[in-house]
C-alpha cells in the first residue's frame, strides 16, 4: 500500500474543502496538504448552487439583521455565538472571493450587486448571475493551483478514517483509476464531503452527494447533530428534482395554484402585493413555502397534468431580456429539459429535497469531538442553520468556515506529530480488507439499485414535508431491514480499473447509515420545528422539551442512540416565527419587549 505523509488531509474538494486547503496553505506554506476528492474538484456539488451567497453589504443593512434572519429562520435551533461569528465574517470572505477573481454580478458603478432572497430582511445576496456556486467553485479551484503545498488526489475515494491514540491521524483512499489503496497519514483531517440528499428520491442533489464524511465520522463515534432537519426546496423540476433557484422569486417570480391564485397568502405569508417584499409571500423561507405546497395539494388546488401534481412558477412578467441576464441557467433548464419558454409560459414546479441542515457535530471552530478531526460545509453541523437554513447562507458558510477549518487544522497539525505509524498501517490494512469485502463477496443476492430505490422511497414516505409517527416507524423498520440486506449486496463488477460499481456499493453503505440517523432523529423529536413538521399530535414547537439539538451516536449494527444537547442562546430569545404582515407585527412586539437585539 502506498503511503503519503501529509500534515493536513482534506476530504472533499468542493467549496469548503478548497477554501480550507487555501487557508492551510496561507497559514503556513511549509505544511503539506493532501486534498482528496472522489471527483475532479470542479465536479463537486458546490457547482450546482445557483442563487447566491449572503453577506451584509448595503448601508441600510446590519449584522443584527442578518443574525436575526438566520436565527429566526432556523426556528431558534442555531448556535447563536457561531451565527454571530458567521455574519461578522461573511463580507470579508465575499471580498476575498472577488479578489481571487469570482465574477460577481455588478452594479453600473462597478461595485458588487446584491439581490433579495427568501427570509432575508434586506437584500444581501451576492450573486454571479444564477451560477454562483459554479463560479465560486471554479474560482476557488483555479486559485488553489497557485499553492504548491496543496497536493491533490483527484478521483480518490475515501473509504475510512484512521483513528489512533484517540485522535484522527489520516484517511484511507482508493485510487479510482487503479483500484489501489493509498494511506494518507495526516496530523489533522478536515471532512468537507457535502450533504446526504441522495437518501431521498426526488432531490436536487448530484449523484455524488451520498453523506460519505458524515457516515465516516459517525462510525468513529462522532455524533451527527440535528439530522432530522432536511430542507425541501419549494421550486424544483418535477420528476428530475432539478433546482430552480430561489433567485427566481428574489427577482420577482410568483407562485400560483391551479386557479392562478397566489396561494402563499393563505399560509401566513401575505398579504399579496404587486411588488416583491422581503420576508413576504414568495420571499418567505423554504420550509414554509414547501409546507404551503403540501396543503394546496391536500386541498386539491395544485395543477394536475403531464408533470404530475404541480404549482406554477410564473416568471413571464420579468421579460426575456431580464431573465436571460439574471437567470440564464434557469431559462436554459426550462427550455431544454422541459420544452418551456419561461418568458411565455409559467414553469411547473414541486418541492424537492435540497439540503441537509444537520451534520457532523462541530464546535464554532469546526472541531469535532474527535481530536484532529474537523468538518466544514454541508457535511458539518457548525450550528448556523438550526431547523431551517435560509437560502444563500450555505455558500457563505463554505468560505467563512472553510477558512476557519483550515486555520484550526493547521494549528492542530503543528502541535502534534504522528504517533504509532505501525498501528495506523495495521488499521489501514484492516480497512482495506473491509472495503474489498464489499466487492469480493461471491454469494451476494441483493441488487444495489433495488436497495437504493427502496431506501429513497421509504425516506420520502416517512421523512417528507409533513411527518407522522406511524410512517416514520415504518421507515425506521425499512431502513433497519435494508441495512441487514445490504450485507448481502451483490456486485457484478470484479475489476480494478474504474470500478464504479464498487464505489457505489460503498456509498450505499454510507447512505443507509445516514438515512437511519435521519429517521431515528425525526421520530424522536416529538414537536414541530422548522423543516420537521409533524401531524400526529405534535404540531407545535415545544421549547420546554425540544429546544435541544439531537445527537445521534453510532451503535454498530443497531439503530443509533439519540441524545440531546443544549442550544447556545446569546442575544435572541426564542420567539414567534412569523413572516409577512404577521412577521412585521411579531418583530415589533419583540422589539417592544426587548427580546430581540436590534
Amino acid at each position: 500500500m502506498e503511503v503519503f505523509k501529509a500534515d493536513v488531509a482534506i476530504v472533499g474538494a468542493g467549496g469548503g474543502g478548497l477554501r480550507a486547503a487555501i487557508a492551510v496553505a496561507e497559514a503556513d506554506p511549509t505544511l503539506k496538504i493532501a486534498l482528496i476528492s472522489k471527483v475532479l474538484p470542479m465536479r463537486s456539488h458546490t457547482v450546482a448552487a445557483e442563487g447566491g451567497a449572503a453577506a451584509v453589504t448595503r448601508p441600510d443593512d446590519s449584522l443584527d439583521h442578518h443574525f436575526n434572519d438566520t436565527v429566526g429562520g432556523g426556528d431558534w435551533l442555531c448556535e447563536q455565538d457561531v451565527v454571530e461569528y458567521f455574519v461578522e465574517h461573511a463580507h470579508e470572505e465575499m471580498v476575498q472571493m472577488e479578489h481571487w477573481g469570482c465574477p460577481w454580478s455588478r452594479k453600473e458603478d462597478g461595485h458588487a450587486n446584491v439581490r433579495p432572497f427568501g427570509g432575508m430582511k434586506i437584500e444581501r445576496t451576492w450573486f454571479a448571475a444564477d451560477k454562483t456556486g459554479f463560479h465560486m467553485l471554479h474560482t476557488l479551484f483555479q486559485t488553489s493551483i497557485k499553492y504548491p503545498s496543496i497536493k491533490r488526489f483527484d478521483e480518490y475515494f475515501c473509504s475510512d478514517l484512521m483513528v489512533e491514540d484517540g485522535r484522527c491521524q489520516g484517511v484511507l483512499a482508493i485510487e479510482i483509476a487503479t483500484g489501489e489503496f493509498t494511506l494518507i497519514q495526516a496530523k489533522a483531517v478536515i471532512l468537507a464531503t457535502g450533504g446526504a440528499g441522495r437518501v431521498f428520491r426526488e432531490n436536487t442533489n448530484g449523484g455524488i452527494v451520498t453523506g460519505d464524511g458524515m457516515a465516516l465520522a459517525y462510525r468513529h463515534g462522532v455524533p451527527l447533530r440535528d439530522m432530522e432537519f432536511m430542507q425541501y426546496h419549494p421550486t424544483c423540476m418535477p420528476r428530475t428534482g432539478l433546482l430552480f433557484t430561489e433567485a427566481c422569486r428574489g427577482e420577482g417570480g410568483l407562485l400560483l395554484n391551479k386557479d392562478g391564485y397566489r396561494y402563499l397568502q393563505d399560509y401566513g405569508l401575505g398579504p399579496a402585493e404587486d411588488k416583491p417584499r422581503n420576508k413576504f409571500m414568495e420571499l418567505g423561507p423554504r420550509d414554509r413555502l414547501s409546507q404551503a405546497f403540501w396543503h394546496e395539494q391536500q386541498k386539491g388546488r395544485t395543477i394536475q397534468g403531464p408533470f404530475g401534481s404541480v404549482v406554477n412558477l410564473d416568471l413571464r412578467h420579468l421579460g426575456e431580456a431580464y431573465l436571460r441576464e439574471r437567470l440564464p441557467q434557469i431559462y436554459e433548464l426550462a427550455e431544454e429539459f422541459m420544452g418551456i419558454d419561461p418568458a411565455h409560459t409559467p414553469v411547473p414546479v414541486v418541492p424537492g429535497v435540497h439540503y441537509t441542515m444537520g451534520g457532523i457535530l462541530a464546535d464554532g471552530k469546526t472541531a469535532s469531538s474527535l481530536p484532529g478531526l474537523y468538518s466544514v460545509g454541508e457535511c458539518s453541523s457548525v450550528g448556523i442553520h438550526g431547523a431551517n437554513r435560509l437560502g444563500s447562507n450555505s455558500l457563505t458558510e463554505l468560505i467563512v468556515f472553510g477558512k476557519v477549518a483550515g486555520v484550526e487544522a493547521a494549528k492542530f497539525a503543528k502541535s502534534v506529530s504522528i504517533s504509532n505509524p505501525g498501528a495506523i498501517q495495521k488499521q489501514a490494512e484492516a480497512a482495506q480488507a473491509r472495503a474489498l469485502g464489499v466487492v469480493n463477496k461471491s454469494n451476494g443476492t441483493e441488487r444495489m439499485a433495488v436497495l437504493r430505490n427502496e431506501m429513497a422511497q421509504s425516506m420520502e414516505d416517512g421523512c417528507g414535508i409533513y411527518r407522522l409517527g406511524t410512517t416514520m416507524q415504518a421507515t425506521c423498520d425499512k431502513i433497519d431491514e435494508l441495512r441487514q440486506r445490504y450485507k448481502n449486496l451483490k456486485l457484478e463488477d470484479k475489476s480494478k480499473v474504474y470500478n464504479t460499481e464498487w464505489l457505489l456499493g460503498i456509498e450505499l453503505g454510507y447512505l443507509l447509515e445516514v438515512a437511519q440517523v435521519i429517521v431515528y432523529s425525526a421520530i424522536n423529536r416529538k414537536e414541530s420545528r422548522g423543516s420537521h413538521q409533524r401531524l400526529d399530535g405534535f404540531e407545535e414547537r415545544d421549547d420546554v422539551k425540544y429546544l435541544k439539538h439531537s445527537l445521534a451516536y453510532y451503535t454498530g449494527d443497531g439503530a443509533p442512540r439519540i441524545e440531546y444537547g443544549d442550544v447556545k442562546i446569546t442575544k435572541s430569545k426564542p420567539g414567534t416565527r412569523a413572516y409577512g404582515a404577521a412577521g412585521v407585527k411579531a418583530d415589533a412586539d419583540r422589539h417592544a419587549e426587548g427580546a430581540d437585539n436590534g
Binding site: V39, L40, M42, R43, S44, H45, V47, A48, E92, M94, V95, Q96, E98, H99, W100, G101, P103, W104, S105, R106, K107, E108, D109, G110, H111, A112, K131, F134, H138, Q142, T143, I145, K146, D154, A177, G206, G207, I208, R239, T240, L242, L243, P306, F307, E332, L333, E336, F337, M338, M448, A449, L491, E492, D493, S495, K496, V497, Y498, T500, E501
Partner: protein, 251 residues
C-alpha cells in the same frame, strides 16, 4: 411528457482494459419515457442490465461537466441529450473522441488537468488590494469582456470536437486557451505577459486552424474559437516586433 414506455436500443462502445484488447460495441434495450436523458438511459443499464458499465456523472443539470460523451458521433453532455430524439432508430454512445479511453465511457483527464494547471488560471493582480479596501471596481461591461469565457465547465466536449488536438495532443486546446483568455481579459488581472509565453508558443494559439467546431459543440456558449483567434493578431504583432525592438529577439 407521455408516460407510455417505449423501448430504445442503445449501443455502447465498451472497453474494459482488464479483459478487452480493444473497444467493442455492446447493445442494450432500454425502456424509456420522453423526458429521459441519455444519461438516464445509461443509468438504467447500470442499475438493471449490466452493473459493470462505467461512466462519469453527477449533477444531471449540465453544470458539473462530468458526463460528456459522443452520442451518435457528436460530443454531447448526456444529461441534456434526450433519448426521444433518437427514437425509433436508436443511438450509439462512445467515449469522448480524441481522448484516450480509460474504461467504457470514461476518458483520461490528466492531460486536460495538467494543461489547466500550467496556464496560471488565477488572478495575478494588476494592482494589489487589501481586503479592507473592499472589492475591485468592475463595470458590467468590463465583466462582459471575460464572463462568457469564465463559463467553461471543463466538460472537454471542445477537445472531442477539435481535430487539431486529436492529431497533436501537445496542442493546449480550446477549453484551456479560453480559460487563459478569461484571465487575460479580466480588468483585475495583470498577468497577461506571463501567460502569453504559452499562448504564443506553437502549442498555443497557433495550434488552432479555426475549424470552429469547438464553439459549435460548447454547451455553455463559451466560444473558445473566438478566445483563441482574437489573440492571433496580437501574437503575430509580437512575433514581428520582437525582431525590431532592441533586445526583443532574445525573449
Amino acid at each position: 411528457m407521455a408516460d407510455t414506455e417505449k423501448i430504445i436500443e442503445i449501443q455502447v462502445l465498451r472497453y474494459r482494459p482488464e479483459q478487452d484488447k480493444e473497444p467493442v460495441l455492446q447493445s442494450f434495450k432500454v425502456p424509456f419515457t420522453d423526458d429521459m436523458s441519455v444519461l438516464q438511459g445509461l443509468q438504467y443499464i447500470k442499475d438493471f442490465l449490466d452493473g459493470t458499465l462505467s461512466f462519469r456523472w453527477s449533477c444531471r443539470m449540465a453544470i458539473c461537466g462530468s458526463c460528456g460523451m459522443m452520442v451518435d458521433g457528436k460530443p454531447k453532455l448526456s444529461c441534456k441529450t434526450f433519448l426521444r430524439e433518437y427514437y425509433p432508430q436508436g443511438l450509439r454512445v462512445d467515449a469522448l473522441a480524441h481522448l484516450p479511453i480509460e474504461r467504457d465511457l470514461m476518458v483520461s483527464v490528466e492531460d486536460f488537468v495538467t494543461k489547466l494547471e500550467s496556464i496560471k488560471p488565477y488572478i495575478i493582480p494588476k494592482e494589489p488590494r487589501t481586503l479592507e479596501q473592499g472589492e475591485y471596481l468592475q463595470t458590467p461591461q468590463q465583466r462582459d469582456m471575460y464572463e462568457q469565457f469564465s463559463s467553461c465547465i471543463n466538460c472537454m466536449l471542445c477537445y472531442a470536437a477539435c481535430p487539431q488536438y486529436g492529431l497533436n495532443p501537445s496542442f493546449t486546446g480550446p477549453g484551456i486557451l479560453a480559460l487563459m483568455h478569461r484571465y487575460n481579459a479580466d480588468s483585475r488581472d495583470g498577468g497577461q505577459a506571463e501567460r502569453n509565453e504559452l499562448g504564443y508558443a506553437d502549442e498555443g494559439y497557433w495550434g488552432c486552424t479555426a475549424v470552429g467546431y469547438c464553439s459549435e459543440v460548447c454547451p455553455k456558449g463559451v466560444d473558445p474559437a473566438n478566445a483563441i483567434n482574437q489573440n492571433k493578431m496580437a501574437s503575430a504583432i509580437n512575433y514581428f516586433t520582437r525582431f525590431i525592438t532592441p533586445g526583443g529577439a532574445e525573449k
